[in-house]
């Protein structure tokens, strides 16, 4: 592994509040220096980053890598490659695999597969309950020892308030958050999209916003009761944003994420029964999307997470009711954040990087999210102005279930480094 000098880029590091043209010198996998006119010692690979942004690698707290169990849709290797291509140097993989990632053995498997893949870092999230059945707590301590960074039953809510309470209390021992998929199943069951005028017209059973908000409110109340850190996954409604704002005003240990599709799309996208727009939580109304954007701006929503959810094309080529929820998101997240949040001036470039790197790393206590000297050289270099078209055949994920296929995004990843090693480089890029 050669050392690397990334020369003349706009180096943005929200962890230190810096933003300016500089060189970034990477030596032995770590950030060695950031400054002007750093000379390149012999043998150093020099990358011209003029006009590009150099930032701490993106961190995604919410991905589904499908291995073990659903390798036809994604593997840890293909998912980690997709992450690297999207500028992510670290992703946290949800435990709804088969078998469920609910023990030190299964957590260890994810860690080993990620090391073998050698692309983005993959941090496993262990299940809250055995088999994600919502009954018995898993062995948080052993899973953390094996590499788990959080617990979640994502894909399913922690339906029992008692279980959620004990999970929050028990997780405190290990300093990990409990990430909850907020959904009152008795309200949501059988639902295929947001409950509103579009679902009423299409004759699809709707999932009311209340199904999410009831559980957000419950989790906030339990965070207050227990003092445990609850992380609210994929927030989608304006009511949820209001509730989180209230929780934060009380200083409660609550953090929240939102996905690019929820700050971009609305339920009208389901017209024509387009299964690439079927996800859970569902796409909601313009007022919800706008509240999510505002939440990201004012910090009510702490971070952006992709909820990358690969599905084989066969399973999406179905009646809307029958199709599975979710879309791939790792390779479109940055381009959507740039197009939807930075271009219209909702977030500055630095704020966007904070919400996609520095803050998520802090929430799950991960290394990364910084370009501080001495930190592991997890770095993304991207062209903030470059427009590119999302093409199915160019995605690195094994699946291409995305409503953004064919769309033009702004901002393309040039290079991704993990611990100083180039794990992704845009194909037609020339380096000196």
């Amino acid at each position: 592994m050669s050392d690397l000098l990334i020369r003349g880029g706009r180096v943005i590091d929200p962890s230190r509040g810096t933003d300016g043209v500089a060189d970034l010198y990477v030596k032995e996998g770590k950030i060695e220096a950031v400054g002007r006119n750093i000379p390149a010692p012999p043998g150093t690979m020099v990358v011209d980053a003029a006009g590009k942004v150099v930032a701490p690698g993106l961190v995604d707290l919410h991905v589904h890598l499908r291995e073990p169990g659903f390798e036809h849709a994604e593997t840890i290797a293909s998912g980690a490659a997709s992450a690297a291509a999207g500028g992510f140097t670290a992703v946290c993989s949800m435990p709804n695999t088969d078998p469920v990632t609910d023990s030190q053995a299964t957590v260890g498997f994810v860690v080993r597969q990620a090391i073998r893949a050698g692309k983005a870092r993959v941090y496993p999230i262990g299940a809250v309950s055995l088999g994600q059945r919502g009954e018995q707590l898993t062995e948080f301590g052993e899973m953390v020892q094996a590499g788990a960074v959080a617990v979640s039953d994502d894909g399913r809510p922690v339906a029992s308030s008692h279980l959620m309470r004990t999970a929050l209390e028990y997780a405190k021992t290990f300093g990990i958050p409990v990430a909850d998929h907020c959904e009152d199943l008795s309200l949501a069951i059988g639902g295929a999209m947001h409950e509103g005028i579009v679902s009423a017209r299409l004759g699809l059973k709707g999932i009311p916003s209340a199904a999410e908000e009831i559980m957000v409110a419950r989790d906030i109340i339990l965070a207050e009761l227990t003092g445990g850190h609850v992380h609210l996954c994929h927030m989608s409604t304006r009511g949820s944003v209001e509730l989180i704002r209230w929780a934060k005003s009380k200083g409660l240990p609550v953090t929240a994420e939102a996905t690019p599709h929820h700050f971009t799309l609305t339920h009208e996208r389901c017209e024509g029964y387009d299964t690439s727009a079927k996800m859970n939580p569902p796409l909601r109304e313009a007022a919800d999307r706008d509240a999510i954007r505002q939440g990201l701006k004012d910090g009510t929503i702490d971070c952006i997470a992709s909820d990358h959810a690969p599905h084989h094309y066969d399973t999406k080529e179905r009646e809307f009711d029958e199709a599975p929820n979710g879309i791939v998101g790792l390779e479109t997240a940055l381009g959507l954040a740039m197009r939807e949040l930075v271009a219209p001036g909702i977030l500055s470039l630095s704020e966007m990087i904070k919400r996609m790197s520095t803050t998520p790393a802090r929430i799950f206590h991960l290394p990364g999210g910084t370009l501080a000297v001495g930190a592991p050289a997890d770095v993304v270099v991207f062209d903030p102005d470059r427009r590119w078209v999302v093409r199915r055949e160019e995605l690195h994920s094994k699946s291409a279930n995305s409503p953004f296929i064919g769309e033009t995004l702004v901002g393309q990843v040039e290079m991704t480094l993990v611990a100083g090693r180039v794990v992704h480089q845009r194909k037609d890029r020339s380096t000196s």
Binding site: E195, L202, G203, L204, K205, R318, E319, F320, D321
Partner: protein, 314 residues
């Protein structure tokens, strides 16, 4: 022949213009007479092959389509979900592609999933007719209801029609709402709030919570079937109470300021959403609806096959 007047498929009444809906109704008029002849057959669709693909039980609609097809001299095949490869787990897209490979001309599909007809129509070249998809639309039912109302009142414009009952789960309701609104009728929805999606008010329909008020307002009632499983879903506490609070009864109709025309898409739960003496009473057009169903379906089949709008059956 002129260019197809309806496009490739009939998926619902929402995508149709008022002119297209009137064209179907006008085309149905001469076809009514075919069914009154001793020899109930015209050669309009001779040589066309039509598959009736029914993924849900159906008596009225399936038979009505089959009569319509046969009276137009088409060759027809009926496929039901049981006893076919569908029951072996074949996906809808594979079923469609296999049918297409047999070079068929049209598919009539009834399916429990909303959007199934559109799914099929976007994947095969044959014409697709939606015979009811989930809770979405049942366009030929909507059309036969419109034709029946037009027979009775002479026009649709300005009519006040109340759609009563389980609108939430009803594809008939959605097709009626679109068809009636497009032709200039006023539409009200009446039933327990658990079964009336309040968002539908955005389409320009009014919601009348009490059946007495709906009866006082309307020129015609389209009474929807209350499916028995809605009790288990917790939408209504009991069929008995439903009848007492929301049932269309003779007593309630007798208090109306004018005689109301009563429609029902069937099958009827006598004594639940509607009383027997109303079904069998002088203002019921439930059987004329069934008769009109054949004519409307003949018109749709004929127009989708590229038939000229000015064709005369006589």
């Amino acid at each position: 022949m002129t260019a197809p007047a309806l496009g490739k498929d009939l998926l619902g009444l929402e995508p149709l213009s008022a002119e297209q809906i009137r064209l179907i109704l006008d085309t149905a008029e001469p076809f009514k007479e075919v069914s009154e002849r001793a020899i109930k057959k015209v050669p309009a669709l001779r040589g066309k092959t039509i598959v009736n693909l029914f993924f849900e039980p159906s008596t009225r609609t399936r038979i009505s389509f089959e009569f319509a097809e046969k009276r137009l001299s088409a060759d027809t095949v009926n496929v039901a979900s049981t006893g076919s490869s569908i029951s072996k787990g074949e996906t809808l897209v594979d079923t469609a592609r296999n049918l297409e490979a047999m070079r068929i001309d049209m598919v009539v599909i009834r399916h429990p999933a909303s959007g199934a007809a559109q799914f099929l129509g976007s994947r095969i070249r044959s014409n697709v007719i939606n015979a009811g998809d989930g809770k979405h639309e049942h366009p030929t039912q909507g059309l036969l209801d419109l034709l029946t109302l037009r027979d009775r009142f002479g026009k649709i414009e300005g009519l006040k029609v109340a759609i009563c009952g389980d609108v939430l789960h009803s594809r008939v309701a959605r097709s009626n709402i679109w068809g009636l609104l497009k032709l200039g009728a006023e539409v009200a929805l009446c039933g327990p709030a658990t079964l009336i999606p309040r968002e539908l008010a955005e389409l320009g329909v009014r919601i009348i919570p009490h059946i007495e008020d709906a009866i006082a307002w309307a020129d015609a009632l389209n009474v929807l079937r209350l499916q028995l499983e809605r009790m288990q879903g917790g939408f209504v506490p009991s069929l008995r109470e439903y009848n007492r609070v929301f049932g269309v009864t003779r007593e309630r109709l007798e208090r109306a300021p004018r005689d109301l025309v009563i429609l029902h898409p069937g099958p009827i739960n006598r004594g639940v959403e509607i009383d027997s003496d109303v079904v069998d009473g002088p203002h019921s057009v439930i059987l004329p609806q069934v008769t009109n169903g054949v004519a409307v379906r003949m018109a749709v089949l004929y127009l989708l096959a590229g038939g000229a709008p000015d064709w005369q059956a006589s």
